[in-house]
Amino acid sequence: MQKSLHIDPSKCTSCLQCEMACSFENYGVFNNSLSRIKVFEFHHTGAKVPYTCTQCDEAWCMHACPVEAIKLDKTNGAKVVLEDVCVGCKVCTIACPFGTVNYVAETGKVQKCDLCGGDPACAEACPTGAITYVDANWTGLERMRQWADKLGNQSA
């Protein structure tokens, strides 16, 4: 079964545990500025929205890379940056429609979410279930269940 990250912004409290878990997993340091998942706060509405790469099937970043430094991990569908190959040209950062591939000045390479090899640290750290790692074919299952509950689960 292929899995994917599923984000439910209504459950996010903006605690940033996901960002710290991400930077710790990838760099061994608590540093939100190195996180591949970002939480955005919208003060005027009170909304808090975590955002990261959704691992497009026909990934713009992968197709745009001139040196084939972004590869598909067939075990989980992640598009993974090969740091040894990346030349830091940043073309992928232009190609990505969502802004989820970013350059890291300190290393001279780009970085993006690679699903932590199939066990995403952000989902594990999220205390509210705003970020989950679920069956890619059924990311809507929980929302369907909630509506099913509303529609048909009334006691007589």
Partner: protein
Amino acid sequence: MAWTRKILRVNLTDRTCTSEPLNMEWARDYLGQRGLATKYLASEIDPKVDPLSPDNKIIWATGPLTGTMASTGGRYSVVTKGPLTGAIACSNSGGYFGAELKFAGWDMVIIEGRASSPVYLSIENGKAELRDASHLWGKTVWETEGQIKAEHQDPQVRVSCIGRAGENGVLYAGIINDLHRAAGRSGVGAVAGSKNLKAIAVRGTLGVGNIANPKEFMKVTFEKKKILKENAVTGQGLPTYGTQVLMNVINEIGAMPTRNHKDVQFEGARKISAEAMHEPRETDGKAQLVNNQACFGCTIACGRISKIDATHFSVVNSPKYWGASGGLEYEAAWALGCANGVDDIEALQYANMLCNEDGFDPISYGATIGAVMELYEMGVLTKEEIGIEAPFGSAKALTYMTEITARSEGFGKVIGLGSKRLCEKYGHPELSMSVKGQEFPAYDARGVQGMGLTYATSNRGACHLRSYTISSEVLGIPVKTDPLTTEGKPALVKAFQDATAVVDSSGLCVFTTFAWALSDIQPQLQAACEGDWSMEKLDLMGERIWNLERQFNNDAGFTRKDDDLPPRLKTEGAKVGPAKGMVSGIDKMIPEYYELRGWDKEGRLTAETVARLGL
């Protein structure tokens, strides 16, 4: 490790910023944040200094767990000599600023002197500089944060700043970060204002990477987060209702200080409670509460985000207040509501927003309004003097007085002095509900006896956060004690005071202690910091921090007579509820408390105590 081991020292008079190594010997004895900053302050200033003079210093301090994945690890403290009390002032805030300061590579920022014109401190990792803030002077907290982000062209800058209240010397002005998180009490904002320091803006991209035992740290912090999740208070009560979960509880036990402590139950409590924040309004069909928000790293998320009713009289012509903003916490709802007898929850939300927008403490402010309203009803203060009719319960008077206080206009200047100076000015010092000049928070010392001792002995003036014995006396955490008895309370208060001093020095939030004992925090510190962090060491450290603060206050001139409650709480019995007829037994508790502390009859540390704690 876990400290960055670096201090930024800023001299405003000379306009210099210098880096110096953290005194690690002190860090091992005082941990960080509250304890360590107090150690620095006490070592560097004369306790008798005028708090608003250039000779006072003000310190922004993180703890070793600030900026880590330990739940709630985002706290920082502001430590200085406070202008409201003349005692040690230490105010603690969450939000995201503290972690950002740590990520920039600093444990602490020590501010000295006074700038000749307004400045703000800009920190970008190792680069720190003072910048002109003349264009920011006169601006609110919200305008200042927005403008600094725009000027730096960086939305990720975090800002800790003062509003107009701090500039104008409101004696309970706070320092606000992230728009509505506050180092709120004791007037730390007035000290920043007196130094012409408008803000600290920080951007940190270095992170915290020097955890002593990272693998163990991740394991133990995950385990402890699970405890918070499964606890009824930290897992359900606080995220759902916020601290406002207490409004109906405290009212029911008759410990709700109402109308300047004349009453102990508020008939309008239900209308300004957490439950009321959840209910759809008649006007727009929406609840005031939008959602909850966490501070950095916090898995509890008690913060309230609310939207005011746009048709309410206070904001109907001011669209800038219609969006989501920091919502009512229990202490603010109490001070702006019960203390004045105002039960209009929208008026409370408006006043609360102004406190955030211009940076002043809603507890001291609301309690001062309670005194104003009593003086008005006695005929001592008049409509002409105040600018409005101000009987208890008037939402219009509350909102009007909040506006003039925020702007320090007219009678607002007097309100900004706090209740002690205001009541003295009008010849009724006994009506100030305060200790050491700082106003009480939201628990009546007659209905919860331990809180009376908590207030009387708190080193920063009346405060609930120095030993929150409500946990034990009302909620039964860790064990239930009878709120109506003084028996055993000196020991209870001492234990809470010492443990809280450690929590406040670690980088964590005291709200974790609804679910965690100090023994749950100990392994997190042990994994993060090199060396020995045994329970014995932490217990002694808490006591050491408490006594250091006390020593500072003694040297500043505080004595036995300052550890007392206003006559109302000692002579006027509670009118209703479980504590009906009771007064505070403070006089009975103080001698026993001094003895447990190892202090003499005048409340001074004995030579044995000084030696035992290594002071």
